[in-house]
Each structure stands twice: as C-alpha cells, then as structure tokens.
Amino acid sequence: MVNPILFIILAAVAIAAAAGLLLSRDAVHSALYLVLNFATVAVFYLLLNAPFISMVQITVYAGAIVVLFLFVIMMLGAEKLRGAADNVPGSEKIHRYIAVLLALVLVGVFGYLVSQNSIGVVTQNPAIDASPQALGITLFQYYVFPFLVTGVLLLVAVIAVAVFGQVRKGGSINA
C-alpha cells in the first residue's frame, strides 16, 4: 500500500532532479542530480516490492555508473566541459522547436494513456515473494541463456574499452 502523498513527494523529487540534470550548466551538477534521481527511483522500487532491484539500483547506478561519469568529467577537466555549454546559433533553433514539440506529443500520448485508466490498480494483486532468492530462481530458471549472453556482452565491452583506451603513437584514432 503506497501512500499517495508519499508517491507525490517522491515523484516530485524525481522529476525535479531530472529537470535539474537537464538544465544545469555544470556537468558535475548534472551528475549529482542524476544521483538524486536514481536514489528516488530506488525508493520507488522498495515501495514496489523490489528490494533486490532497489539495492542494485543504488550500487550499480548510483555507485558505479555515476562515479564513472564523475570520473570522466574530472579527467577531462570540468571547467572545459562548461565551455561546451549550449549557446544556440540561429539555425539550431528549429531543431530545438521540433524537439520540444515532439516531447509535448509524447507527453500527450502518455497523458492519453493514463486518462484511459484502463489498466487498473497497481496493488490489486497480492505482493509476491520478491526476495533475492526468488529472483535468482526466476533468473536461472528462465533466463540462463540471456544471462550468459549478457556476460559475453560485458566481456566484449571490457575488451572494447581496453581497445579504445589505447594511446597510439601519433595520437590519432582514425577519425
């Protein structure tokens, strides 16, 4: 049973954090907003009877990925990145308008879906066992192959990163 008030507060925080990410000039700030957003969503997960995913969200997203972002930002020099902030040349405006227009269309679509109210109450079904144990059983019962493929994917990613990370003599990648 989720208290609607709790939901609204959390949702507001999440949306605010996302907006902050979007609007912030400084990439470091953006990253911090991102953490906030992730954390909020993690709370949602807890509320939605997904404790394990919640923890993963915290550790992987907030812990690893955002740290990675911060790391790269620091490595490339945060102040330089600020210089790359958005100033809008004339020809780019149309681009922006289209983007915003599309976003509005999308919002409309979502709104339409919600207004249909055809799906029902989220807590209709009783909460099932979503302990890490149960999750693990489901994972390995139904998703062994995707699991392995994901492993390979990670491996490939690791290799790719290693390759990209090489510094060649003459310092050029084939760009």
């Binding site: 902030a85 799906i119 979503a130 489901t138």
Partner: protein
Amino acid sequence: MPSVVDINWYIALSGILFVIGVLGVLLRRNAIIVFMSIELMLNSANLLFVAFARHLGSLHGQVLVFFVITVAAAEVAVGLALIVAIFRTKKSINIDEINILKG
C-alpha cells in the same frame, strides 16, 4: 485526490522522466550530459517495468530490469571510453563538432 496509487501514476511519472531524458538527449550538446540523459530514459523504463511486475504479480519484470541495468553499465563504459578517445583527438566533447558523417 485518489486514495490508491494505481499503475497510471507510475506510467505518468515514468513518461515524464522519459520525456525529460529525451529532451536532454536532443537539446544538450555536452556528450556526457547526453549520456546521462540516456541513463535517465533507461531508468524511467525500469521504473515502469518494476511497477508492472508489481501490478501483475510476476518476477519477470524485475529480472528484465536486472538485465537492463547490466547492459546500461556496459553501455556507459563503452560510451565513456569513446568520449575520452574522441576528446583526445578533437579536444572537445561537443557532439556538434563530431560531424564526419556529413553528407
């Protein structure tokens, strides 16, 4: 105010987050922030997955989220590596300056 939080609330929240993410991708030129926006979009989708998992009383949604997180991690790693590599060459991560595909 409705007394029960139903699935539509989550759809709405998730939609809003997703659109914000989309706007980030489309409007920002800082490649790192573009990436963060992508993460945001993925996150909104995850939220919806978990909500529906709760809604339908099934664990499969959660498992899917698990996979998405994994893949997202991989993607971020590769993407950031690319950004670093590009930065080394171009001395910039402004995605508008990366336009060798111009026809």
